[in-house]
Symmetry: C2
Subunit: 221 residues, 2 copies
Amino acid sequence: MSMTPQNCAEKAARRVPRGEKRREEIAAVAERVFLRGGFTETTMQIIAEEAGASKETLYRHFGNKGELFSEVIRGRSARITGGKEGELSVEGSPREILRDLGLNLLRFLVSPDSLSLYRAIVAEVPREPELGRIFYTQGPARLLNQFARYLACATRSGKLCCPVPELAAKLFIGSIVANYQILGLVAPHEDAFSEEKMQVHVNEAVDMFLARYGGGAAARG
Amino acid sequence: MSMTPQNCAEKAARRVPRGEKRREEIAAVAERVFLRGGFTETTMQIIAEEAGASKETLYRHFGNKGELFSEVIRGRSARITGGKEGELSVEGSPREILRDLGLNLLRFLVSPDSLSLYRAIVAEVPREPELGRIFYTQGPARLLNQFARYLACATRSGKLCCPVPELAAKLFIGSIVANYQILGLVAPHEDAFSEEKMQVHVNEAVDMFLARYGGGAAARG
DNA sequence: GAGTAAACGAACTGATTAGTACGGTTATAT
DNA sequence: ATATAACCGTACTAATCAGTTCGTTTACTC
């Protein structure tokens, strides 16, 4: 078991970059660690070790623990809906679009990462209210706006009939996410999140939505 | 500034009970303090001081901090829906009943105590999953069951038409609570919870629900 | 290839807090 | 009344962790 540079798998003697690049590396590691353990559970020491960094470097780049956490949340919140489609396509029947939106949203919400993030933010808001506002505007609010715009558009073109698109959007999204989010947060028990159950749930939510807001023919689409 | 027993307003020289009675006093104080500050923010010292107790007494009665917290949550979860009406009345039109249920639920959910409790549980579940299960079964699950039973009953009597009452219940409750709960947890900003907005929201949710599940005539009730 | 600023690592400070110990006090049961 | 067990208050231990310091090493710049 010699230790020539080639077979030394333990310490790769990695070339450590400087400046902004190092900063981003550390932020990426911090995101992973914070998501895994939340704010209070995570220590600066752990982040440093996992990033192969020293605490001094952490503090030079981010000032303090709260700032690092804020930056992570900010970045992640922005990526969440940013990564998704920027605007809902108007192609396809409302039923299809609603179904896709609902199912994608549900799958996304019950993912461990989403639940962890939400959990971490909920816990930190009393200490750092700004964090919650950033998350809400970057995440849920953005989605609601996109969806409401789609509803307004579909209403103008006669496919749907939503007098108050913002409200209709909240009702639809709520009917889909609430129960799963509560379950995921307080009683995470795998088999509640089966793909089949989610599809049944979303289908029924779409039916309910269209029964009220489907403009005439579209309701039976 | 003499200190005769009569004018000593600071320390009332209160008669401190022993045994079970003292235990309950302390639990009541702990509930208040935990609700105010969550688990990690709250120290045993603070609870002891606020209860006029010594830490030794806390530990004798509850063993450790986690046990005390668990007991508080257990008690509160049980009281939440237990205090509410045991069974939904079948008197009145579905529209009235849905409206009342929705509005009461919403008012209850956005109350500071409810949000604090939920926040505390969400934060603690990773450390103590049992806590979340207790809360869910005692709180949300119980409400969903009650409501689903009502829907089934109303369906049998022809007032409504819910093929799968459990699912319909989840959709209705979800359409009402989701958005307000998210807002309350991550971006608490007072004016979002005005009585008027909540009424408009609930009315629209009821309309949507009845459009789908209102059996014929009831839909226009 | 030399100088410099960034990074490492290890040790340290200071503050907090769960949990324990103990001597003095008081409610309560007999 | 008196015994005793519960209680109070204070002080302690041990552990954790944010944030700092410093001597050494190393990646980048010119």
